[in-house]
């Protein structure tokens, strides 16, 4: 076979002696890159978590931490948002899970273009460094909030409106480049490098989730890049894309005729699909973990894929629901309210299918399974509250109140993080060859899950009272109800507890990686290919001399008449061929 893919395979099989640097630092191996992504993202995420504590302390116990003032409060707010959405969640779910799992799950030796993959990680690291560098420049980091609305983000009334915002925009542009390099690899690998027998309709839903998410990312990040470049030009070159004639704090700025709404359209054309970039891989992970730990095929496999694809497509035409109160053309309200509520339908379908997967299953209460069940709960409440915000007339009173904070934290913050934890507990044995501690894991789950409800549920009630978000203090807010201080204090305590639970998680990871119980080759008795590698911790090239061949879909759990309650994808014939041996490749896609 004289194809480039075959040539690439041959190149991978050719083992060269590798130095330490080549093997663990500038590695081309997708598994090492995936771990690099995960560790970096978790480290940045820890910073984001600490920032949220500082904000919560100010809100719950005003003045208790004397060092928090409005300036650094808004800087914390900006960095918390950006870190959590972009540098933690996008990076870990696409870069971490995507890199580690895609080649293993589809039976490839590596990504299509390993060098590009390595560059993707190092570019990501550069974007993180640029982001954090904001704290070491005069004027400090930007306090422009994560949406960076001009003119506010680049004018004098906002902290860090000098070098801080420049670094932030540069960091975002570099991140887009990194995500593009990664996304190209994921998509190409999934489309062109599957093993024999691995049709698209036999791929695990995790791969489907990451694949669709990568497509969405590849098409939605460009407008962010465009908006970032234009904002940078406005800031550095004095162009007037987004800035009309304004008088900021007594100074008339040399801009004329720009439109702040243009930025918002470009930003949210990225911003809304970004939510699904994060949640689609999470949905995939949840589906796989749930099927494995409930010992049951995922219910409605095709419906799951169709709804993920539908969510991916519709997510591109709903963006202006973030702008119902922005003063845009009022007619848009009708269009975007309608498209937004339509997106609820595929999301609801997924929820039904998860419930029906649990139905009549044999549920094992392992830690990954607990996180999975927690995900379904937070996803449901997050999604249902989205119905308030998508419907334009209902949104207006709730817009920019704590209702919104509660909604997006539950649906894309907590849910995606719970899925991330489910994934880490589930695949940790694959990565390290050791199991994670179950007791610590359960403590971690219950504190995180119940704590998240205690933190974010009261926010819905605060939102109904009209309490605006992004407030440093509520001292001057006359319409704040008398109990607000008590509620805020309670929320802060719960948030600190949730934060402390993450220390348990870190301790668990470190301890288990060194001392944990040694894992079997297939500890969860799963069907997917990554558990069928010749070594427990797959070596370079993953599969030894011969690639696996796939004979069935990944959800042959509890097949009637089979000897075991699972049949791995690469197992050719079993004694009793079940009637439900997965969709035939030829029938797929109809």
């Amino acid at each position: 076979m004289a194809t480039p893919a075959a040539a690439a395979h041959a190149a991978h099989e050719h083992h060269e002696p590798q130095s330490f640097w080549r093997k663990y630092v500038f590695s081309l191996d997708h598994k090492v890159i995936g771990i690099q992504y995960t560790v970096t993202a978790l480290a940045v995420g820890a910073i984001g978590l600490v920032l949220s504590w500082l904000m919560r302390l100010q809100l719950g116990f005003p003045g208790a931490v004397g060092a928090v003032n409005p300036t650094n409060y808004y800087q914390f707010m900006t960095y918390h948002g950006l870190i959590m959405v972009v540098y933690l969640q996008t990076a870990i779910l696409l870069g971490g899970f995507g890199n580690y799992l895609i080649p293993l799950m589809i039976g490839a030796r590596d990504m299509a273009y390993p060098t590009l993959n390595m560059l993707s990680y190092w570019t990501y690291l550069l974007s993180v460094i640029l982001l954090l560098a904001g704290y070491f420049v005069p004027g400090g980091p930007s306090g422009g909030s994560w949406v960076l609305y001009p003119p506010q983000s680049i004018t004098a009334g906002t902290p860090g409106s000098g070098l801080g915002i420049t670094l932030l925009l540069a960091s975002i542009a570099v991140f887009v480049v990194s995500a593009t390099m990664g996304g190209l690899n994921y998509i190409t690998t999934v489309l062109q490098m599957r093993t024999r027998g691995m049709t698209l309709m036999r791929m695990p839903l995790t791969v489907w989730g990451v694949f669709i998410s990568a497509v969405v990312a590849l098409l939605s990040f460009p407008p962010l890049f465009v908006a970032g470049v234009m904002l940078l030009f406005d800031h550095l070159l004095g162009t007037s894309f987004f800035i009309p004639t304004v008088n900021v704090l007594g100074t008339v700025l040399p801009h004329e005729g720009g439109s702040p709404l243009l930025f918002q359209h470009l930003f949210w054309f990225f911003g809304h699909p970004e939510v699904y970039v994060v949640i689609l891989p999470a949905m995939g992970i949840i589906s796989d973990v749930m099927a494995t730990h409930a010992r049951k095929p995922i219910f409605g496999y095709k419906a799951m894929i169709v709804s993920m694809a539908a969510i991916g497509v519709i997510s591109f035409i709903v963006w202006a629901h973030h702008m119902f109160a922005s003063g845009m053309n009022p007619f848009f309200g009708y269009i975007f309210a309608a498209t937004t509520l339509v997106v609820a339908i595929p999301s609801a379908m997924k929820t039904y299918n998860w419930l029906l997967t649990l139905w009549k299953g044999s549920i094992r209460f392992t830690t990954p399974m607990l996180f999975t069940i927690g995900f379904v709960s937070t996803f449901v409440i997050g999604g249902l509250t989205g119905l308030f915000l998508g419907n334009v007339a209902v949104d207006l009173p709730l817009h920019d109140t704590y209702f919104v904070v509660g909604h997006f934290h539950l649906v894309m913050g907590v849910s995606a993080i719970l899925a991330m934890f489910a994934g880490i507990y589930h695949w940790f044995p694959k990565v390290t060859g050791r199991m994670m501690n179950e007791t610590l894991g359960k403590i971690h789950f219950f504190v995180t899950f119940l704590g998240a409800y205690l933190v974010f549920f009261p926010m819905f009630l605060m939102g109904f009272q009209g309490i605006p978000r992004r407030y440093f203090s509520f001292d001057l807010v006359a319409f704040a109800p008398s109990g607000l201080d008590a509620v805020n204090a309670m929320v802060t305590v719960a948030a600190l507890a949730v934060g402390a639970a993450q220390l348990v998680f870190v301790a668990n990871i470190v301890w288990s990686a060194v001392r944990g119980r040694e894992a079997d080759a297939n500890p969860w008795q799963a069907n997917t290919l990554e558990w069928q590698t010749p070594q427990i911790r797959p070596g370079h090239g993953n599969w030894g001399p011969k690639l696996p061949e796939v004979y069935r879909w990944p959800y042959d759990y509890s097949v009637p008449g089979a000897a075991r309650d699972f049949i791995p994808q690469n197992e050719p014939e079993v004694a009793v061929v079940s009637p439900a041996a997965g969709p035939e490749p030829e029938g797929a896609g109809r």
Partner: protein, 228 residues
């Protein structure tokens, strides 16, 4: 045309659908070529969104601008023998870029025949044409800046004109530079017989795809920024 497509034409819409389903339900590969070509096509799609975003933003900024939009025919005119010819330089630049696209297409055709000297010669010609294009763009920029057009302001109306012009043509010019580097690398490899050694000349086609895309974008820049 492949047999598959002849069948598709004969069978009409139903078999077109069947062809798509067949591709997407196959194992190993969805598209019948190597991953580098697939990756380039997907990159082109993503880059299309970057340029689409730029052009959409340009439209939005231009419509909302409070000052009148300058007359491009006048701004980009060259004076030949005392007469002002509007957009002459741009017309020549368009001519050159289209020609370079043609030479790359011929070069890719030659690469299918594995004709090393012909492929290399045509690639070299493309490089020369691309460099000419860049040189003329550099001339155009200096000319404009000399006349007082800057990203932040211009003497002939809305400042968004200069801003969008320099941003979009600059971004396109960056693509041309990258394309030249890419083509030069492929040219070297053709000359060294690298593609004969690895057994596939697909890289020439991949580089060609990228270069055509740069040309494709120019078609829209020419229409939207200079003409409309």
């Amino acid at each position: 045309m492949t047999e598959h497509q002849q069948a598709a034409v004969a069978g009409g819409r139903r078999s077109a659908w069947r062809e798509i389903v067949a591709d997407f339900s196959r194992d190993v590969r969805t598209y019948p070529f190597g991953w580098s070509k697939a990756m380039m096509w997907i990159f082109i799609l993503s880059d299309l969104f970057v340029f689409g975003g730029f052009l959409a933003a340009y439209a939005g900024a231009r419509m909302a601008a409070t000052q009148p939009w300058p007359d491009r025919g006048h701004v980009f005119s060259l004076t030949i023998g005392g007469a002002e010819v509007p957009l002459l330089l741009i017309a020549i630049m368009t001519f050159i870029l289209i020609s370079s696209s043609g030479t790359v297409a011929l070069s890719v055709a030659a690469s299918h025949e594995r004709n090393r000297s012909k492929t290399a010669a045509l690639l070299g010609l493309t490089l020369v044409l691309g460099a000419c294009f860049l040189g003329m763009q550099a001339y155009e920029w200096t000319h404009l800046i000399h006349e007082g057009f800057l990203p932040s302001s211009n003497p002939a109306g809305a400042s968004q004109f200069g801003a969008t012009f320099f941003m979009i043509t600059g971004f396109h010019g960056t693509h041309v530079v990258i394309g030249l580097i890419f083509l030069a690398r492929v040219l070297l490899r053709v000359l060294r017989g690298y593609y004969d050694r690895i057994g596939t000349w697909e890289q020439v086609e991949v580089a060609g795809l990228y270069w055509h895309f740069v040309d494709l974008v120019w078609v829209f820049i020419f229409a939207f920024i200079y003409l409309i």
